[in-house]
């Protein structure tokens, strides 16, 4: 079925979003955000795929072989780096929140802040 990889991307997005909405812990929330971001990798790589094509690495194949799109792979690489940095920043914010308010539950943080 040619639709399935896109559906997987959509499902990852929604399931990660569900985790964020219901999260009771900031660390868990950051992990859920990385699940949402994983959906973009799946979508990008799925879009660039060609039937019967191989990876765009010509070290041991002829340059005439059909290959999948190298641009989406490059974009995915950027995506992964951005995800890691966003996660790092959010985790340090979670550390801050825990030290200041003594809790990691987003609901209690909201209550403290009014």
């Amino acid at each position: 079925m040619s639709f399935l990889p896109y559906a997987v991307a959509g499902w990852l997005f929604l399931v990660g979003l569900y985790g964020i909405v219901t999260s009771r812990n900031l660390i868990h929330l950051v992990v859920c955000l990385t699940v949402v971001q994983a959906s973009t990798y799946v979508l990008l790589l799925a879009i660039g795929y060609r039937d019967d094509a191989t990876a765009p690495i010509f070290a041991d194949i002829s340059t005439s072989r059909p290959v999948v799109d190298p641009v989406v792979a490059t974009l995915t690489l950027t995506d992964v780096v951005v995800e890691a940095t966003v996660a790092a920043l959010l985790l340090s914010l979670a550390v801050q929140a825990h030290r200041r308010f003594g809790t990691l539950d987003p609901d209690e943080l909201g209550a403290l802040r009014g």
Binding site: S2, F3, L4, P5, Y6, A7, G10, F13, L14, L17, Y18, V21, T22, A46, I47, G48, Y49, R50, D51, A55, P56, I57, F58, A59, T63, V67, V68, D69, P70, V71, V72, A73, T74, L77, T78, V80, V81, V82, A84, T85, V86, A88, L89, L91, S92, L93, V95, Q96, H98, R99, D107
Partner: protein
């Protein structure tokens, strides 16, 4: 908003979003049917014009090198952001972050210690290999930098936290991070000075398939490798320091 109400609102929104996804995905080209001319062009130019064999590395570091420069500075800025957030907080502490029992190994388990020490050197070699062969095979500075970071982290895990407070190898990591980011920009400037434009190749391309080939791409890979390794270790080191702080706060 109560949790139940929030779930209901989310359920409605998610259902709408799912419907939009189905609608949108149905209009996308069928999986495996992609017909983008740009990527194909880059793949076709990789070997004849750049003498490298990894089309992904060539589009990352050459055809789209400016994007990668921006990406590298995102990483740099984020690491600096983590430092500012976590160190600023520590400024109020009377004692610098250091382990509670500095002279004891942090890893209580002998197995953990021996396995991580035994793994460190092979992982380091693997990381250097992945960085060095970025223009030939899958890999490169980003991937190899993460592997290098793991090697140093294994030393940390298997050894002691001893140096976290004293000598601080983290200072060296900050230097590695800065050098990596600056190196990328300097190689880009070299393109202006020695060739026609920013990030343009100014070295001979060499023979396709050789370790030294592809012009400046291997150099860019090495600088990204340092940058990634340094930035990740700085971030992880800061988060580990926090752990000591928090534990001391509990006592």
């Amino acid at each position: 908003m109560s949790r139940r109400l929030r779930l209901v609102v989310f359920g409605l929104g998610a259902a709408g979003l799912a419907a939009l996804f189905v609608w949108g995905f149905a209009e996308l080209p069928h999986f495996g049917d992609f017909d983008g001319a740009y990527g194909q062009l880059l793949a076709d130019l990789t070997v004849p014009e750049r003498h490298a064999t990894s089309a992904v590395a060539v589009s990352t570091f050459d055809f789209r090198g400016l994007d990668t420069l921006g990406e590298e500075f995102i990483l740099f800025t984020a690491a600096v952001g983590v430092l500012v957030l976590l160190r600023g907080q520590r400024a109020g502490e009377t004692v610098a972050a250091e382990p509670i029992r500095a002279h004891h190994p942090t890893a209580e388990s002998r197995t953990l210690r021996s396995v991580s020490v035994a793994l460190a050197a092979p992982v380091l070699v693997l990381g250097a290999y992945v960085v060095a062969h970025g223009h030939l095979t899958p890999g490169g500075g980003f991937q190899g930098g993460v592997v290098l970071m793991t090697a140093l982290l294994l030393v940390y895990l298997g050894g002691t936290h001893l140096r976290v407070g004293g000598m601080r190898p983290l200072t060296g990591m900050e230097a590695a991070e800065g050098a990596g980011a600056a190196g990328f920009a300097l190689i880009g400037l070299g393109g202006i000075v020695l060739a026609a434009s920013f990030l343009e190749n100014f070295l001979p391309f060499g023979t396709t398939g050789n370790l030294i080939s592809g012009g400046v791409i291997p150099l860019l890979n090495v600088s990204v490798g340092f940058e990634v390794m340094g930035a990740l270790l700085v971030v992880i080191g800061e988060l580990l320091d926090q752990r000591f702080l928090i534990r001391r706060g509990d006592q």
